[in-house]
C-alpha cells in the first residue's frame, strides 16, 4: 500500500511539474469529447511547439472560470455547442479578439460580432430511419409528428441540449402554440421513454424497436469506425429534415477567448490554427462534422447524406427560446414516454 501510495505521489508530482515546465503553453478548458479534440490539439502542439494543457468536463466550466476570476489559468473555452459560448459571454468571462485570419476563415454568421467567440465546426440534427422499414427519402421535422409514426419514434432525453436546441428552433419557426402541438405529436409517436444517447437511437432502430429517431450526423461515421457499433449504423439511413419554412437545424461548436487569459497570444494562435485548412479538414474527416471554413470539403460519408441547407434562424433567437422549450417538455410530460 505504501509503495503504491508513493508511486501515486510521484505520478502526481510529475504531471504537475510537466505542466509548469513548458515555456510556451496554452490552457484549454473544453466540453468536447477527448477522443474528438485530442488529435487536433496534438497536431497543433507538434506543428507549433506550443504545449496544450487541457481540462475536459461535462458542465460547469463557465462557472469555474467565473469563480477563478482574474487569476484563472483558462486561455480559451472550446465548447461542443453554441449555447455555452453565448453563456460564457453573458457571464462576462470572455473578451473580444479580432484577427484577419479568423475573419477570413469563419463566416460572419458563425461568429460573435465583436469576436468574443468563433464557430469551428457544426453538425446537423437529423432523422435516422430504418433502411428496411422506411421508404421515405425526404421528411420535415414537422412530419415526424405525423400519426403514421405512432409507436415507431425514438430519441434521447427531451431536456438534453441537442434536443432542447432543436425544440427551441421549433418554437422560433412555429410559435409556442404550434410547437407544443408538434412536440405533443412527437411524444404520441414515441416507441418508448426517451433515454440513452444518440447512438442508441441507431441501436434501437437496428433492434427493431423503433423505425425513426432524432440524432446528430457525426455519430454515423463514428459508429461505422467501431466494430461493435457498425451493425447499428448499417441498419439506418440518414434523412436531412428541414423545418417547413426553414432549413436543417445545425448546432455550432466553437472557441471563446477568456478575459483573463495568461497566454492570450497562444490562445489566439490555437484558434487560428483550428480554423486553418488542416484542422478544418480534420474536423471533416476525423469527426465527420461540417467545417466552418469555406471551401473545406466534408467527408464523403457526410456528403452522401445529401446537400445540407442550414436553418437560417439566428442562434440568439434559438437560445432565447430554450427555456420555453424546456418548459413545454416538462408541461406535456415528454420524457414520461408514449401515451
Amino acid at each position: 500500500m505504501k509503495r503504491m501510495f508513493r508511486a501515486g505521489a510521484l505520478c502526481l508530482a510529475g504531471s504537475l511539474l510537466c505542466g509548469a515546465a513548458a515555456a510556451q503553453s496554452v490552457n484549454v478548458y473544453t466540453y468536447r469529447e477527448p477522443a474528438l479534440i485530442k488529435p487536433l490539439l496534438d497536431a497543433f502542439s507538434a506543428e507549433t511547439g506550443v504545449k496544450v494543457n487541457v481540462i475536459f468536463a461535462k458542465e460547469g466550466l463557465e462557472e469555474r472560470i467565473a469563480a477563478e476570476g482574474a487569476r484563472s489559468p483558462a486561455d480559451v473555452l472550446v465548447t461542443a455547442d453554441v449555447a455555452s459560448l453565448v453563456r460564457a459571454q453573458e457571464l462576462g468571462i470572455t473578451r473580444s479578439e479580432t484577427s484577419p485570419v479568423l475573419a477570413a476563415a469563419v463566416p460572419a454568421a458563425l461568429r460573435e460580432a465583436a469576436g468574443h467567440w468563433y464557430g469551428l465546426s457544426y453538425r446537423a440534427r437529423v432523422l435516422y430511419v430504418s433502411k428496411d422499414r422506411v421508404k421515405d427519402t425526404a421528411l420535415t421535422y414537422e412530419d415526424a409528428a405525423d400519426p403514421r409514426w405512432k409507436g415507431r419514434f425514438c430519441l434521447r432525453d427531451g431536456q438534453h441540449i441537442y434536443n432542447n436546441m432543436l425544440f427551441a428552433a421549433g418554437i422560433v419557426h412555429l410559435g409556442e402554440e404550434k410547437a407544443e402541438r408538434w412536440l405533443k405529436g412527437l411524444r404520441a409517436n414515441l416507441a418508448k421513454k426517451p433515454s440513452g444517447n444518440d447512438r442508441e437511437v441507431a441501436k434501437d432502430i437496428a433492434s427493431g424497436q423503433c423505425d425513426i429517431g432524432l440524432a446528430n450526423t457525426y455519430y454515423v461515421g463514428q459508429m461505422l469506425k467501431s466494430p461493435d457499433q457498425k451493425p447499428w449504423a448499417d441498419a439506418i439511413r440518414v434523412i436531412l429534415p428541414t423545418f417547413k419554412d426553414g432549413g436543417t437545424h445545425v448546432n455550432l461548436s466553437g472557441i471563446a477567448f477568456m478575459k483573463h487569459a495568461p497566454n492570450a497570444a497562444n490562445g489566439l494562435k490555437l484558434a487560428e490554427w483550428l480554423a486553418g485548412e488542416k484542422a478544418q479538414a480534420m474536423y471533416a474527416s476525423g469527426n465527420f462534422e461540417f467545417p466552418v471554413r469555406p471551401g473545406t470539403p466534408v467527408d464523403p460519408l457526410v456528403s452522401g447524406f445529401g446537400p445540407l441547407r442550414p436553418d437560417p434562424v439566428s442562434y440568439e433567437a434559438i437560445i432565447k427560446a430554450r427555456s420555453k422549450a424546456a418548459d413545454i417538455i416538462d408541461r406535456i410530460g415528454f420524457n414520461g414516454g408514449p401515451g
Partner: protein, 546 residues
C-alpha cells in the same frame, strides 16, 4: 454550551483547555457542512442575467412523483436485499456461507454510472441474453419476443439497489451477529424461529442499522445523475440540472437544491429525535453466543442461491463483462499512455480522502458524545447532507466558496491555491463523504457503554484524556470503516473530480468518463476494471471487519 462534566482538577504542565480540541474538530466539521449551504444560498440570491426566478412548474410535480417512486423502490428493494442477506448469513449455516458473507459486500466497489453502462450493454438487444434468446427462438427483431426493458424506472430501481444494498447489509449483519445476538439467542431459546424470529425480533432490533444504511442508499439515489439520465428516469437531480443548464436559471436550480436539502435535514433531525431516547445500550463485552443453525438439503441450497443472486447480478456479471471488454480493448489499442498516471491520481486522492474522513469522523464522533449543546447534538445529524445534493450542483455551490478562500489567500501569494488544485477535489470529497465517516464512528461509539465515560470521569480523567486516550483507542473499527468507505467512495466519485481537477490531470473515473461520453464506453474498460479492482481491496477489508 457547557462540557459534559466539570473539568478535572489535576493539571500538569502545558495543556490545551479541556475539550478545546474537540470543539475545534466540531468547528472544522461545521465549516465543511456550511460551505455548500453558503454557496447554494449565494447562488440562489445572485440573479442570473436576464432570467426570471421561476422555480415551480408543472413538470416539477411529475418529477417529484417519479423521484418518490424511485426512492421508494430503491429503499424497499435495497433494504430487503441488504437485511435479508444479512439475516441469512448471520443465522444460518449453508454451502458457501463464509465466502458469500464477504462477497455480498463487493457490489459497493461498482460505481452506479459504470454499472448503468454495463447493464445496458448486457441487457440490450445486442447483449448476450437477448442474442441467446433470439438464437433459441429464431427471432430477428425486438418486436418478435418479450424481454424486460433495461432503460426504465424499474430497471433503474434494480440497478441502484444492487449497488447500494451493501450499505444496509454490512451494518445489519454486524448488528445481528454481535450486538443483538444475545437477544436473538434468548428468543430462540423461547421457541421463536424462522419468519417469526425475523419479523418480531430481528427486524425491530436491527432498526438503527437499517435506518442509517437505507438513508445512505436513498441519498446516493437522490444525487445520482449518470444512471438515471441513461435510464430515462425523471429524477429531481435532472430537473435541477435542467433549470441550471437549459433555462439558464442557476438561482432557481440552487433554490430547488436548497429546498431538497432542507427537506432532507428535517427528515434527519426528526428521525434522530424519534429514536434519541431509545438508545440500544449493549454491554461493553463483545462477542455473542449466536451459533448459526445448520441448514440441510434443498433449504440449504435455496438459501445459498438467495445470497448468491445479488453477488452474481451486482458484481460477478459486470466484472466478467469488464474483464472480457478490457482484454479486447487492450488487444486492440494496447495500454493507454495515461493509465498509470490516472491510477496514481485516483489512489492518492482516495488515500488522502480516507485518512481525512477517518480523522474527522473520529474527532466529530467523540465530540458529539462528550460535548453538550445543540451544536454538538445536531450538527453530526446533518453530516449526511453532503450526499443529498446532485454532484455537479454541489461543485457549482463550492466554487464561490473556494474563490472566497483564494481571495483571502491572495494577500500571501499570487496564484490560486484552492481552485484548480487537488485541494479543491479533496475538500469536495470531505463535504460529501464525512457523513459516512461520522456515522461509522458513532455506530462504534454506541456500542461502548456510557459507564466507561462515567467511570473515567469519576477517576479524575480529563475530557481530553477520555476522548483521545480511552475512547479513541476503542473506535479503531469505526474509524477503519470510515476510512474504507471514504476510500471506495472517493475512488468512484465523478462530478467533483471531473470539474475541479487541475489541468492535464486524469483519474480512473475521469478517463473512464471520457470514453463513455464519446459513446465508446468499451474502450474505457481497462480503466473501469482497474477502478473496480482497487475498490475491491477496501471492500474486502470492510467485509471482513469484525
Amino acid at each position: 454550551m457547557t462540557l459534559a462534566a466539570s473539568p478535572s482538577p489535576a493539571r500538569r504542565g502545558l495543556r490545551l483547555p479541556q475539550g478545546a480540541a474537540l470543539w475545534a474538530a466540531l468547528a472544522v466539521f461545521c465549516l465543511l457542512l456550511a460551505a455548500p449551504l453558503a454557496g447554494l444560498t449565494y447562488l440562489a440570491a445572485t440573479p442570473a442575467p436576464g432570467r426570471t426566478g421561476l422555480v415551480w412548474s408543472a413538470g416539477l410535480v411529475s418529477t417529484l412523483y417519479e423521484t418518490l417512486l424511485l426512492l421508494a423502490g430503491v429503499g424497499l428493494l435495497s433494504a430487503a436485499v441488504g437485511v435479508g442477506s444479512a439475516w441469512l448469513v448471520a443465522m444460518y449455516r449453508f454451502p458457501g456461507r463464509d465466502v458469500l458473507a464477504v462477497l455480498l459486500v463487493l457490489p459497493l466497489a461498482l460505481p452506479t454510472y459504470l454499472f448503468a453502462y454495463v447493464a445496458v450493454e448486457l441487457g440490450d438487444f445486442f447483449g448476450p441474453f437477448q442474442t441467446a434468446l433470439r438464437w433459441l427462438l429464431g427471432a430477428t427483431s425486438r418486436r418478435d419476443y418479450w424481454f424486460p426493458e433495461v432503460r426504465t424506472l424499474p430497471g433503474a430501481i434494480i440497478l441502484l439497489s444492487l449497488v447500494l444494498y451493501p450499505y444496509i447489509y454490512l451494518p445489519s449483519r454486524m448488528m445481528f451477529e454481535r450486538q443483538v445476538g444475545r437477544i436473538i439467542y434468548a428468543a430462540r431459546l423461547h421457541g421463536a424461529s424462522g419468519a417469526g424470529l425475523f419479523f418480531r425480533v430481528g427486524l425491530p432490533l436491527a432498526r438503527p442499522a437499517i435506518a442509517s444504511g437505507t438513508a445512505f442508499a436513498l441519498l446516493e439515489t437522490l444525487n445520482d445523475v449518470g444512471a438515471v439520465e441513461h435510464f430515462g428516469v425523471q429524477s429531481i437531480s435532472l430537473a435541477i440540472r435542467s433549470l441550471w443548464l437549459n433555462r439558464g436559471n442557476l438561482p432557481g436550480a440552487a433554490s430547488v437544491a436548497l429546498l431538497c436539502l432542507m427537506i432532507v435535514a428535517v427528515i434527519l433531525i426528526v428521525e434522530y429525535s424519534m429514536r434519541r431516547h431509545a438508545a440500544y445500550a449493549s454491554s461493553a463485552r463483545a462477542g455473542s453466543p449466536l451459533t448459526p443453525v445448520r441448514l440441510t438439503g434443498t433449504r440449504a441450497w435455496i438459501t445459498a442461491l438467495a445470497c448468491a443472486l445479488p453477488v452474481l447480478a451486482g458484481f460477478a456479471l459486470p466484472a466478467v463483462y469488464l474483464v472480457a471488454e478490457a482484454a479486447r480493448s487492450l488487444a486492440r489499442h494496447g495500454v493507454a499512455p495515461g493509465l498509470a498516471a490516472a491510477f496514481g491520481n485516483s489512489l492518492l486522492l482516495s488515500v488522502l480522502a480516507g485518512l481525512a474522513v477517518g480523522l474527522i469522523g473520529g474527532a466529530v464522533g467523540i465530540a458529539a458524545r462528550l460535548l453538550r449543546g445543540p451544536l454538538a447534538r445536531y450538527a453530526p445529524r446533518l453530516a449526511t447532507l453532503g450526499y443529498a445534493i446532485p454532484g455537479s450542483v454541489l461543485v457549482i455551490a463550492l466554487l464561490p466558496v473556494y474563490a472566497l478562500v483564494d481571495d483571502g489567500l491572495a494577500h500571501l501569494g499570487t496564484s490560486l491555491v484552492v481552485s484548480g488544485s487537488m485541494t479543491a477535489i479533496l475538500l469536495a470529497y470531505l463535504v460529501r463523504f464525512s457523513g459516512i465517516g461520522i456515522t461509522q464512528v458513532e455506530a462504534n461509539l454506541a456500542r461502548l457503554s456510557r459507564n466507561i465515560d462515567h467511570a473515567a470521569r469519576t477517576l479524575g480523567c480529563g475530557i481530553n484524556r477520555l476522548a483521545f486516550g480511552i475512547l479513541a483507542a476503542n473506535i479503531r473499527v469505526g474509524v477503519g470503516l470510515a476510512m474504507l468507505f471514504a476510500f471506495v467512495d472517493a475512488m468512484k466519485e465523478l462530478p467533483a473530480t471531473l470539474l475541479l481537477r487541475p489541468l492535464n490531470t486524469e483519474t480512473l473515473a475521469t478517463s473512464l468518463y471520457a470514453h463513455a461520453s464519446g459513446g465508446t464506453f468499451e474502450n474505457g474498460a481497462p480503466e473501469a476494471l482497474l477502478l473496480l479492482l482497487v475498490g475491491l481491496v477496501p471492500v474486502w477489508l470492510l467485509a471482513r471487519a469484525r
